[in-house]
Amino acid sequence: MSLLEIENVSKRYGSETLALNSVAFSVEAGEFVAIIGPSGAGKSTLLRCINRLIDVSSGDIRFDGVSVPKLRGAALRRHRTQIGMIFQHYNLVNRLSVIENVLHGRLGYKNTLQGILGLYTEYEKREAVRILETLGLSEQMYKRCDQLSGGQKQRVGIARALVQQPKMLLCDEPIASLDPSSAKVIMDTLRDINQTMGITLLVNLHQVDVALHYAERIIGINRGQVIYDGPPQALNNEQIYQIYGSEAGELILDLKERYAA
């Protein structure tokens, strides 16, 4: 059984926009999958259907054997605790400290009152500190998040996802707001998480070259449809053209350079 099975998923916004059109694929535990596609292709929508921030219009998503579209209440919360999410704009509570933001990852495991009061166990706090250390943020622990650089904020976002002890991470353009060197740190961190902790990764990426460099599998989406699903080595220029349409020109050039180098 695969960790994640997506069967014929469609998502319609209003009556016109068909953001996802019969998407189907499955992901094995431990895979590093990059999802690429032009702006508006439906990448973010796809990730948000998996942790049910968005309801699918039709089709089924099974995570760890559980059907996601029907989940409600406590079962939905339990499902979400197993999946960490990382965002382009980090989505931290800027006025709180780094450690407080990281501990937010534990809220899904707490009852309402503990969560409201921020009562975390000693074990949870120790875990948060340990994860911050491995991500090189021990100095920043008590700083407010708005005092951090973009790269540091994204690492806090990763730490928050990791204290969830998730089976899978959904990353929605994790490096789109970062400079190249911070982006590299983040991507290396993600790869490390995938390889040493065995956490499955589903990463939306704008940069095809980054996707080809890090991922072991590429899913190309255009207008809500899966155009390509396979290893990076097998992705050729024609397929990139199909995924990106008229925007493909520059990307194909990049690809040639990469293979020339």
Partner: protein, 274 residues
């Protein structure tokens, strides 16, 4: 690039409905003001004599102020009664307003709920505080109790609007992140909404306290709620003692300045940690 510049005059301000309404309103107000000035009926008033009397009265109030019926301690106590009325109604208003505002913010509650809460609050707010006090006076009698209930009522509606707008301006991303990690609604409210909006909530509450302080003076004078407003009423229309009225005016003025100073300080410290 050059081809995109139109040959006719370029309009900077779009000629839309909102702008036209604003212009028509301003024009109407100007016309009404001029009309009022020209046609005002001042035959029975000796304008210059009246103006002179007014200045003389002002001089008595401001430069010959002294206490007579009350001691300094009484003055302080009466001022504190008024402050207490303002503070009590602000606190009584702020707590329920916080919870109502959660259900009035579109990023926290479903549209149907927010519309209902906002409509009720808009109605409550549209009726002036004084009318609410008089309304409750029908049931509990004119006095402090009616003033407290009526002022609290209006404070709630005012603060719900202020708080809800603060909540709606919050970064949607942080709320989404907590939801994605399995946090429930109340946890999201207290772990993301409250910390992000605490300073704005504090300053709105303080603004309302300033309003309630001045309303409390008026309530003392008109609704028998006690405090310095009542003393001002007695001094001006019962004892006809302009000099004592002067002291009350100064007391209110000094306290208002202190309040303003406090508010500025509060905003500075909150702003510094922002």
């Amino acid at each position: 690039m050059e081809a995109t510049i139109p040959s006719r005059r370029i309009q900077v301000r779009p000629r839309n409905r909102a702008n036209i309404v604003i212009q028509v309103t301003l024009l109407t107000l100007t016309v009404l003001t001029l009309y009022g000035l020209v046609t005002i009926d001042a035959r029975n008033v000796e304008f210059f004599a009246a103006f002179g009397d007014m200045l003389a009265n002002f001089r008595v109030v401001l430069f010959e102020a002294r206490l007579k019926n009350l001691s300094w301690f009484d003055l302080f106590r009466e001022l504190m009664v008024t402050v207490g009325l303002g503070l009590l109604t602000t606190v009584f208003g702020a707590v329920p307003a916080f919870f109502f505002a959660l259900f009035a913010a579109q990023n926290l509650a479903p549209r149907r709920v927010t519309d209902a809460v906002k409509a009720v609050m808009a109605f409550v707010r549209a009726v002036p505080t004084v009318l609410w006090v008089l309304f409750f006076a029908v049931t509990v009698g004119l006095g402090a109790a009616a003033a407290v209930i009526g002022m609290t009522f209006h404070s709630i509606s005012y603060l719900v609007k202020a708080y809800a707008e603060t909540f709606e301006e919050l970064d949607e991303g942080a709320l989404e992140a907590l939801r994605a990690s399995g946090a429930n609604w109340w946890q999201t409210v207290f772990q993301a909404v409250v910390p992000s909006s605490a300073s704005a909530i504090l300053s709105w509450t303080f603004v309302r306290f300033e309003i309630n302080f001045s309303v409390a003076i008026a309530m003392g004078a008109t609704a028998g709620a006690g405090g310095i407003g009542y003393d001002m009423f007695m001094a001006s229309s019962f004892y006809l003692d302009l000099r004592e009225l002067g002291i009350f005016t100064y007391a209110v003025l000094i306290f208002a300045i202190l309040l303003e100073w406090g508010a500025t300080r509060l905003k500075e410290t909150v702003g510094a940690t922002r």
